[in-house]
Each structure stands twice: as C-alpha cells, then as structure tokens.
Symmetry: C2
Subunit: 766 residues, 2 copies
C-alpha cells in the first residue's frame, strides 16, 4: 500500500445505478409473494383525542377484506422506553394522521375502499400545536394517558455523544409538556460574555421538515415455513430491525429474519417505520401482509425532523476571538420522543469552534405533531443556521473577514469538545482555504444590487461502530465481499474499491453482496455516516486476510516466502519480478478442485472497531439574488467544499455533496411541514410540501478536501451527513449580504424574506 | 476441551425433523414465483436413434404453451469432457427416456398435455444393452456421433483416489464401446496365487440401482432484476451447481446465484440433474421456469448407479493370510460416463485388507442405459459383495472363523493402500470385535434348518476437502453459524453440537444457517461423506475464533487475562471461580449497543483443510431364513456396527446406520433397474422397482464404535457412505450359511436364489 493507489480514488458509476435508472430495480413495493394480503392504514382524523371505540363491522363486510386490526390485535410488547412509536394508537390519538387501525384485504383496492368504512369514535381533546405555547404552564397537555418520563426519548447516540466529562450538567426537569431538559456548561459564561468586545444574539426558528425520499415506506412480512418471522422492507438496517422485532414480539433473535429491499432513498426515515406493523399483522393472520404507503400517508405518518427554537448569544473580543456562547434551545419533540435530539444540543450549537466558555440549556416539549425522526444530520441545519448566522454578524460588526474570523476560532486537534472529549484533527481550515480561493467568493464585491454571497461551515461527528465483513476468492479469480449493509448512497462501490485496492485486483472483479440478517456479518445500520467508516475497515481487513491466505498458498506452490510475493493487477508475482507472475485467476481455478487440497479456502474475515470518530466538515458558498419586491430568493451559484478524508470514489462523493446542496436549498428556502391550529397537516402532498425542483437549483460546484482520518479506510471519513449542515446558514448569510437583512426562520420563504425586508431597513452587511 | 464433552455426543432430534414430519417444509416443488412457467420433458421413446426432426407446431398451438425448446434453443457451451450430461439430446438419442425437448407452459397440465403433441422423428439404430455383449468386438456401438475419448468419464475424485504411487499402471485402451480401461498392480500376482494354499474365485454381477429419494428432482430458474441467473433446486451443493451453470452459459460466477431448497433425499442423484435445463429455459424465455419430475420421469432420466461384472480371484496361505487378489471388472458406464467409477476399481476391490500382491483391470463400456450417476458409496456394495463373499468362502475352505480370518488381514495404519498411500488408522478390528460379541453372531450355531447368519465388513474412504464457516454472537447470547451446506442427513444438528461444545453454550442456543451461493462461506457439496469431516472443522475453528474474541473483550471488561477465563454453560467465568461468572447473554447485550464500542463484533471465521482422509468402516450382521421352495429370503435380524470416529449426535448417527441397513437390504434382495433387450426400462415405477417396505425389514440394531480420526472434529469421521458398503455381502454370506449356496448376482431376488438352490447341492457352509 506504499505504492500509488490503483483503484481507490477512481471514478466509477454506482453498482446499482444502471438498474435504478432503467427501472429494473425491484423495490419493496414490488415484492409479491403468493397469497399476499394488502394493508391500508386507517388514520386518526384529529390531532388529539381519546379513542372511544373502533367499529369495524362495515369494513369487515366489504368484499375482499380479511381483517381490521387495532392495537389490541397486535401482541406487541410495550416498548421499554418511548423510543419507538407504537404502530397503532392504543387509547389516545396524539397526532392527526396517526394510524389507529389496519385494514387487511385481498387487494389494495379493497383495503383502500374499506378504510372509509371503519368508524373511529373519538372524544376530542385540546391539542398542543405550537411548541412555545405548549411549554408554558397550564398549556393543554399533548399526551394524557402516556405521560413521558425524563430521559425517555434518548437513544444509543445520547450515551455516546451527549454527556461529557468536562462540562457541568443538570438534566431531567419535567413539567407539563416539557418532558426532558438538560443544562451543560463549562467556564464562566457570564464573565466571558461580560468581557466580550462584541455580543450578538438572536432567536432562530426552524420548522418541521420531511426526509422525503423518492420511495415511500413499504414493507412486507410473512411467516416462513419453519415458523420464523420474515420482514422485507425499504429500511436502513437489518440488524436494528431484527432486534426490535424480536423484542416487540418476544421472539428469539434467531426466529426473525430481515431482508433489506433495494433502497429508493431514506435520509433517516426508513428506520422501523412499518416493519412492526406488518409483522404484527402477519403473525396474527399467518399470511404475507404488505403495506405500501401512498405519498399522502407517507407525509402524514412518517417521523420527520423536529422543529427547533434556538435563543443564542455569542461574544468575541475585539480581534474576533470567540469568548463564550449561551444557548437555550426548545425542541419540539412532537407526540413521541422517538428520536428527539435535545441531548445533542451542546455539541450541536458549539459547532466546529473553540469556546472558552459555553452554557447550553435544552428542553424537550411534547406537541401533537408527529413523532420525531432522524433526518440526515438530525438538527444539524437549524443549529448551524443559528450559529453561523451569528458568526457572520460578528464578523460584520468587528469588520473582520468572515473566513479569517472562522479560521482564527476553528478547534484544533486536542481542544475539548462540548462533551469534554478531545477534538480529533478535522479539515475545517482546509475547507475554508478552498472557500477563500473559490470564484464565487472572489466575485462577492462586484455584485449588482440585490445580490450577495454567503458562506457557512458545519461539522458532523459521524459515528464509530463495530462491523464485520468477509471476502471470498471465486474460482474465476473474482472476489465476493459479503456484508449486511443497506446501500443507500453507493457504499457498495466504495467498499468494492477498498477490497480491490487491498487485495490487488481490479475493482470490476469485486462484487459486494448484502446478505440478510440470518447470514450477514455484523453490520451497523446505514445511518450516522456509518457505512464507509465502520464497514470499510472490516472489508479492508477481510480482503487483507484473504490476500494473505492466497499469498501463503502461492508461496507454498512457488516455493518462495509469502513476504516476497505481491499481488498487482490480479497477478501474484515475486516482488520486483513482474515477468514471473501467475494470474490470480489461474491460482483460483487450480484451488477450486477441492478433493484432498491441502489448502484452506481463500476466504478472509474482518471484524473491526474504532477508538475515535472521524468528524467531517463541509463549507457552503451561496450566491443569491433577492427580489426585494417579492422576497423571492434566487440562487445564482452554489458550492460545497467538504473534507472527506479520502474520496474512495470521487463520482459518488460529489453525488453526495450535490444532493446535500440541493437538500440544503430545500431546507433553506422551501420545505416545511405546516400544521394548522387544530393540528391538521396543511402540507400533505408534494404540491404543498415544496421540494426544490431542478429549475430552482443552480449548478452545484463541489470541491473535495482530503485530510485523512487516522482510522478511516485509506483515510476516508463518513461523509453523508456533514454536507447538509451549513447549507441554510450559507443561504441566510448570502441573503444578509444581498439585503442587509437577517432572516431568522427556516425555511426562508418569500413571504418571510419579504416581511423581514419590510421590518428592517439596515444597510447592507456584505 | 479437556473436560468431559457437554454437547457433543448428546442425543438430539434433527433441527429440520419436526417441519419435515409435520409437512411444514417447503420443498423445491413448492417454489412458486409470480409468473412462473411450468416445464415438462419430452422423452425419447427409443434407446438409440438419430434425431431427424422435432415437430413442435402442434404443441405450440396448444393453449397455454409458451415454448417447446430443443438442444439448439439452449445456448449451452459444450462441456469440456463428457462428465456432464447435455440436458437435451442434440443429434443422437442414446437411451430410452432421454430428454429431447422441453415443453414450457403456463400450467403443468398444459405442459403435460402438449408433451404428446411434440412429434420426434427418429431414425432407429441398433442399441447396445448388455454390457458383456457390448464390449465384444463388432457389437453395435452405443454412441455414434459422440465417440468417447479415453479418460473422459473421470471426475475430480479420480485424480485424488484412483492412481497410486506404488502400483504399476496401464490405462486408456479404447475400442468399440469400451472407452476407457486401467490396469494397476503391485507385487507378483501369479506367484502369490501360485503359492497360495487355497484359491477361491467367482464372477459377481450387480444390476443398475436407483438412488430413489422420496423427493423427485425439482428445480426452478429465473432471471433476477439485475440480470443474474438464479436457480433454486433440490440439490447437493450450491457451489458445484453455480460453477457449472456459469461454465455452461459463459456467465461470470458472480452473475449466478444458487439456492438449495430443503432436501427430500438425495443419495448422490441430486447433482446437476435439472439445473442446467431450467436455467437454459429461463435465460431463453426471461421468465421463471420450474420443472418438477414425476416419479416415472425421475426413474427414467436420473443417473443411477451403474452395473458391474466382477471376475475375482483371491488366494491365502494355510493360516488364512491373504496372498493376492486378481480382478477384472467391467463397468457398465451407460450412455454418458458422467460418474463412472472404474477409476476406483483398485481401491474398491482390495477392501480394508493388506495384500502382498494385487492385479486389477477395469474396463468402462458404453451401453444405451442411462447416464451413470453417483449413489451413496458408488460401486461400494457390488465391490464388497464380491470380495466379502470370497473372503467368507476362504474362511469356510480353510475352516477358520470368518471373523478371525478378517482380523488377521485387516490393514494396519501405515500399510500401503492400493494407490500406494499409507492406510490411516481405521476401526475395522474394533467393529469386528463387536460383531464377535453380538447376540446375532452368538446364536448362529443353534439355528433351525434354512436359517443362517452372515457377516461382512466394508470401508469407505470418505473425502478431505477445504471448507469455511463463520460464527456470530447475537445480542441475546445465541450463536449463529453460517455455512453453505445442504443438509441432507442432519448435518445441521452435528455442526450445532460442534459450535456449542467449542464456544461453551448449550446446543439449543446455536442456529446453523445455510446461505445461498452469493454469500455463503466456501463449502463442499454434500457428497463423499464430506459435510461433517470437511465443514465440521471449519465450524469448530469459527466458533473457537468467536470464543477467543469474546474472552478478550470479557477480559478487558473484567480486567483479567483472557487465558484465565473460560466459558461453561453460557457463563464466562474466571477459571476455578464459577461464582464470579457473567452470562454470555449479558455480555452480548452490553456489546450490542454499538455506538463508540471499542470492541469489534464477536464474530469468528474458520477456513480449514485436511492432510488425510478419515475412512470409515462398517460391519454388517444378517440373520436370514431362506424358503428353499420359493427362494424367498426373509431377514430375521440385522445389525450394523460402524466406526464413526466420534458420534456427534448418536441419534442421527444411528439414523444414518439404520437407513443404510435398509438401503443395503434393498440392494441385496430387491432393487434393480431392468431394461428389456430394446433398452426399454421395465422397472419404471415404484410398483416395479422394488424398494424395501417396512414389513420387509427387521428391527435394525446399531452399534457405534469410536476410533477418533486425528483431523476430524472431536474425532468424527464422515459416516454417510460406509454403512451401505457391506450390506449385500452380509446377506449373501447369511444365505450361504443358511443354504450352502452362493448367490453371485445382485439383487438376490427369490427367482435367482431359487435357481441357485436348484443348480447346486453342496452342504451347508455356515
């Protein structure tokens, strides 16, 4: 590996690209087992109510209907915490659209028709919709029959990321709808702010946003001939799903098998969405049950990204050195705190900077608006929106170049993070260097009136998880790599490059296969930027193991020391004697005659873990034109610059960055899940929930920075989440540069921009 | 492992037993993909002919018929050798029933109807049916358009087992229907026989026999959404099948996926039977194609066990020491020499004995009777029938106890086998000791007229093959073992015991999963007594690897040296401190919280090979009554005594031995595939092909001998084949003991016994 890399870093199309583009891919909704029953959800029509009764006779009498299931029919063990949504409302409805029953029929049409025949008798309760109103004493309670307990909504990440060594902590105050809170601090925040030369502050708000994968949720469950429960679905992790199904139904883990269907997009929302529901139905009815959400149901019941209200104040000395940060963040944790990210507030709001003092309070509040879910860098964009807007204001107030101010305050390796652990080396300075040199940035001073350029930077910690993989040499000399990954964003191609480089065969001779949960090596879910950083090293170890085994066999055959052999371009050869080589395929073929072979199979295995995470940093650069008459913001140029550690396949890395830019633009300007005062979802279709269309997005320029992560495969970092973090902040800073006006609410829709322009009349800040 | 074994040696039911007994198992014939087409074979109606034309219009016009495929429609690469049957006759029909076309329709009924509408115009040729007639000069040639070449019918086993170091060899004489021959010898056979005190000799014949699994052949092939070829079938090996399909259709190996359906019996016949045919049809028609043979087709076209004619002569000195053996064996290799076992003749006919001199000639002759296939210890029962009959005669002539004579001549470890390699330690003497002590043997001298007791002993070499496996600790503390085995005879249960014993958890916490060819660890086919001896060590290594990994983690957690820990009954504990233990399940659960875990997954991998095979010996003991008026042989008692090395699960070992005894009785007395002089199969149904029924079989007594194999898992040997070898010989010796008459033709049907009784009138020999 001291030679130049041959396959890592090569541009290659996604392994699954052609099938997806040509329509050959068979997604979860295409799954059609013989005898499959089709399910449709009966949604609650109100946001908050007690269920008096559910009348199913009329629906059951409908031709083709086989069952109408309610919570009582699904023998689901109550979850230990409220991390997981119950799939059907049991006694109380807590958001409009919440599933209360499941109609199961011989056809989708019959099920859809019968949904309207189910009579759900509700005793309406006052809903809590606005999170700031909901947290006040005396507000209507969003949940009555399931009071939350402090710390309830906290998953595995919390224990890893949230609480620190060096910071004072207080947590757990619960009252009314506020079910959890934390207070973490370090240093003397009042002294730090008191001695600051400049203090900037503001309230930043972000609405709920939907992950909006192209493919809606879809799942099928059945009982295998041996009595095992099998679930195939559009999902992000087979083992997470398997373990939760085993828990929910009290089954031994080896009686549950989970199959990931090819992914049509996830972004965090494909985690235990429908699997428990279809599994419960299949266990009850002993036939395959398939549930495919239409777009309206998908928008109504999936757990989206929660709303945040961030009160933030930062101070710096006259040279622009950051002195302190004080934040109070209200998390709208909706009806279920499944994935409320309030525990992450200290890490979120301190960003990639070094802070002598910080003081962060976060409160989590129930409302009658969905359950909370994960969404690609959960809470990251609102957090950076607040912080990077104020950093920009600070630079403006101090008349310091905003890049220079950021460069001066970037945390260096060893500085303490908010949780007290040391920062590893991150590529923030290198990204900012690239921003500095970027043509969009260069032209910011010659723009016509109404145009502006903004920058922002964001960091995402990624994750460090154990993983395993195996690697098998086939009789024709090809390699098969086996993992349990769900390939959402092209990980298969990156893993193939890792195996090819490690073993020494061209990457097109490597097939990466994802097994189901019964046979796959241990693999984390495809979330938390995990796949490349976690599974990559396992694949690397497996390929290295297989390579060593082949070299030992070849050395025995050629009567030479294994250490004197190398594998280059699928040729095993004595080092320095390329002419004396023997093709891997020849060796593989000769080994495939198995009788009495003294050689074990050429098959390697890797099982790895990390000691550190590898945070990724991404800078965004936006060039906007603001129509001051209408508030419409037009993007004229956009760039993303990211430290990816190592671009295993630059084509896919750029694809991730481009997609992240577009998603950022959506979060910045268009996308919001809006409820009316009764808790009815107003944006229930893609006509109302405004995803950016191609015409609304400029060409995205992507620049790759490579600051190797010590434990990453060939230095690679997990890159999926970081490039969405700072997007909305960059657009906000560009709007401020163009207009001198700060918009402090996401998305920055035309009406909001227009209102902000009307409300303020300060000079341009750019 | 120095402690007494806890799980190895425990009696447990088969993992798949309940599902098979209750009918829950879904076999290959139950496979029903949406859009599946159903195929039926159009058989040749004559044994030898040129195909002039195949008229398909009428069949194609039949409602529901989608295609009628002939050899020209299947783009199959010609096999490099004649090892593999072409699935459809191309120009020449070489046996009656040979598939000449495939009708593919929307239903099985439509396909079956249309078979009769396909008009196959044949130009009839003279068939060669009787192998002794066929080998004479001037006999009609069984094959005209595909002349065989010397050595053509020789598979992987040949290179391993057939040719020796210490023996003179000559091979390859081909003329007429005789397409291959070999002559191997050691010592001076004429001198050895010339100096012998006693010489016995005879011609022994054995007819063709069918493997007759309960489940007929069944296979389905389809094209996956990504264009890969997928085949699911009742088979014996996923990788063998995959590699041959890739070869036949010129596909990269990673574009072929093979799934083994649960097995309803195999005995050697489920190896590439229908897979190429359905795959060719699916590739052509781009829809799933399923072919399920009915019993008549299954008997007509499957490749059964070939017929043998053995001319044998052996000599011994006056003390019963064997001096020499001379054999000429004619193998009826049928129309295709796919699995003709003539290369094995020297090993076959010398049995488990030490021979100062041997001289073995084998010839392989084509006839128009099936292709040849493998059948549990291929050629073993006819070989032992000849040898053990003559050994018994020798004992009688010398008036030496037949057990004592065998004991005196059993090969000892280090003696040369026929192939020159040294014999490993085998448990023949121990088996004979058990025979000596057996009540059936003890009562042989007090039997009424017409009854007799016979014994015989047989050895089977087994095989030594590389294999791999993985072993994963689940969050609930259970183990998952992944291999690519096809479980024909309960191997899953044995492998579970190996993993349990090695890791230290109860066997019911181990699940053995068989993956398909895309993700399975390298695994040999379930033939040649391979599974336990080959895959067992890989599972043992994988479980040991996983155990070591868990101990390292536990040691780190408990701050103790890994070597000071042990795992007993699913408790990790400091050696000698049972009270201080921690359950494996607790550790597994704590490790399943993956974020930032410094510990890799607890997952092990094993990849192993052997330096020696582990032959198994089995002795049979039969007590018969012969009705001298009718020739009917009734079995009054039967015992099998086998050296299994180590009985991993005695219940299953005894099951194998019991099944082998019944199969031996079938081969001895009833089963024969008979053709008339035109080559038409007379025994085409189970009414004509006489499998033993329960009423025809006595209670079988099984005795297990355990002489550990040095490289076997816990000493276990591969045991599947050995216990069928000596069965017919034991029955023949019992008949001789009862009547004084030697029957020298298998099966020893009532007419043949009656004829032998009439032809001879010697005194009782028992």
């Amino acid at each position: 590996m001291t030679e130049p890399l041959r396959y890592v870093g090569m541009r290659r199309p996604r392994a699954d690209g052609r099938d997806k583009v040509t329509g050959a891919t068979r997604y979860a909704a295409d799954m059609a087992l013989p005898g499959t029953l089709h399910a449709r959800i009966v949604p609650a029509l109100y946001a908050h109510a007690h269920i008096r009764s559910i009348e199913t006779d009329a629906a059951l009498a409908h031709p083709g209907v086989r069952a109408v299931l309610t919570a009582a029919d699904l023998s689901i063990r109550p979850p230990g915490s409220e991390r997981h949504l119950e799939p059907l409302a049991r006694d109380e409805v807590v958001f409009a659209g919440q599933p209360v029953a499941l109609v199961v029929a011989e056809s989708e049409a019959a099920a859809a028709d019968a949904v309207h025949l189910v009579d759900v008798d509700l005793e309406l309760l006052q809903p809590a919709i606005d999170v700031l109103a909901a947290r006040r004493p005396g507000a209507p309670l969003a949940r009555s029959t399931h009071p939350s307990t402090p710390g309830a909504g906290v998953g595995a990440e919390h224990r890893a990321l949230g609480s620190g060594d060096g910071a004072g902590q207080a947590a757990g105050a619960a009252a009314g709808n506020q079910f959890d809170s934390l207070h973490e601090h370090r240093g003397d925040i009042e002294a730090a702010l008191g001695s600051s030369a400049v203090i900037v502050s503001g309230r930043y708000e972000a609405g709920w946003a939907h992950q909006a994968p192209i493919e809606p949720q879809a799942a099928t469950a059945w009982i295998d001939h041996d009595g095992s429960l099998v679930v195939s679905a559009s999902m992000q992790g087979i083992f997470l799903t398997r373990d939760e199904l085993a828990r929910a139904f009290g089954l031994p883990i080896n009686r549950v098998r989970v199959i990931a269907a090819p992914s049509g997009g996830a972004f965090g929302v494909k985690q235990l969405a429908l699997e428990t529901l279809v599994a419960g139905a299949a266990l009850r009815l002993r036939r395959p049950v398939r549930l495919v959400l239409d777009r309206r149901d998908d928008l109504a019941i999936s757990s989206p990204s929660q709303g945040l209200v961030i009160d933030l104040r930062i101070g710096a000395d006259a040279q622009g050195r950051l002195e302190g940060i004080k934040a109070h963040i209200t998390y709208d944790s909706g009806a279920f705190a499944e994935d409320s990210w309030h525990w992450f507030a200290p890490r979120l709001i301190t960003g990639p900077y070094r802070w002598p003092a910080f003081d962060v309070t976060a409160v989590a509040v129930h409302t009658n608006r969905f359950g909370t879910g994960n969404y690609r860098a959960p809470s990251g964009p609102p957090g950076a929106f607040a912080l990077e807007s104020l950093i920009d204001e600070l630079a403006h107030r101090l008349n310091i170049d905003p890049i220079a101010l950021r460069q001066a305050n970037i945390a260096r390796a060893g500085d303490p993070m908010a949780d007290g652990k040391p920062w590893p080396r991150i590529g923030a300075a290198e990204c900012l260097d690239q921003v500095q040199a970027h043509p969009i940035w260069a032209r910011r001073r010659q723009l016509p009136h109404g145009e502006g350029v903004g920058i922002a930077i964001g960091v995402w910690p990624g994750s460090a998880q154990p993983a395993a993989a195996s690697c098998r040499l086939e009789p024709d000399g090809a390699l098969t790599v086996v993992t349990g990954i769900v390939d959402i964003s092209g990980a298969t191609s990156s893993l193939a490059a890792i195996a090819a480089e490690t073993f020494g065969v061209p990457v097109d001779q490597v097939t990466v296969v994802a097994a189901d949960s019964s046979t796959a090596p241990a693999t984390p879910s495809s979330n938390a930027s995990a796949t490349t950083y976690a599974v990559g090293p396992a694949v690397q170890a497996a390929a290295a193991d297989a390579r060593e085994r082949l070299l030992r066999v070849a050395a025995d055959m050629l009567e030479i020391e294994p250490g004197d052999l190398e594998i280059v371009d699928a040729i095993v050869r004595p080092r320095g004697s390329p002419a004396a080589g023997r093709p891997v395929a020849d060796l593989a073929r000769s080994l495939s005659d198995e009788f009495d072979s003294p050689y074990p199979p050429i098959e390697g295995h890797g099982a790895t873990s990390h000691t550190v995470r590898a945070p990724s940093v991404a800078a965004h650069l936006a060039h906007v034109r603001v129509d001051e008459e209408t508030g419409v913001v037009e993007l004229l140029g956009y760039a993303v610059i990211q430290d990816v550690g190592r671009a295993l396949n630059p084509a896919l890395v750029e694809g991730q960055m481009t997609g992240a830019a577009v998603q950022s633009i959506g979060r910045a300007l268009f996308e919001e899940l809006i409820h009316d005062e009764h808790g009815q979802l107003v944006t229930g279709t893609f006509l109302d929930y405004a995803l950016p269309r191609a015409t609304m997005v400029p060409a995205i320029d992507t620049r790759i920075v490579e600051v190797p992560a010590p434990e990453g495969p060939f230095g690679a970092r997990g890159i999926g989440e970081a490039p969405v973090v700072a997007g909305p902040a960059a657009v906000a800073n560009a709007i401020a540069a163009a207009t001198g006006v700060r918009v402090r609410q996401l998305p920055m829709t035309a009406p909001r921009v227009w209102a902000a322009l009307r409300a303020q009349s300060r000079p341009r800040s750019g």
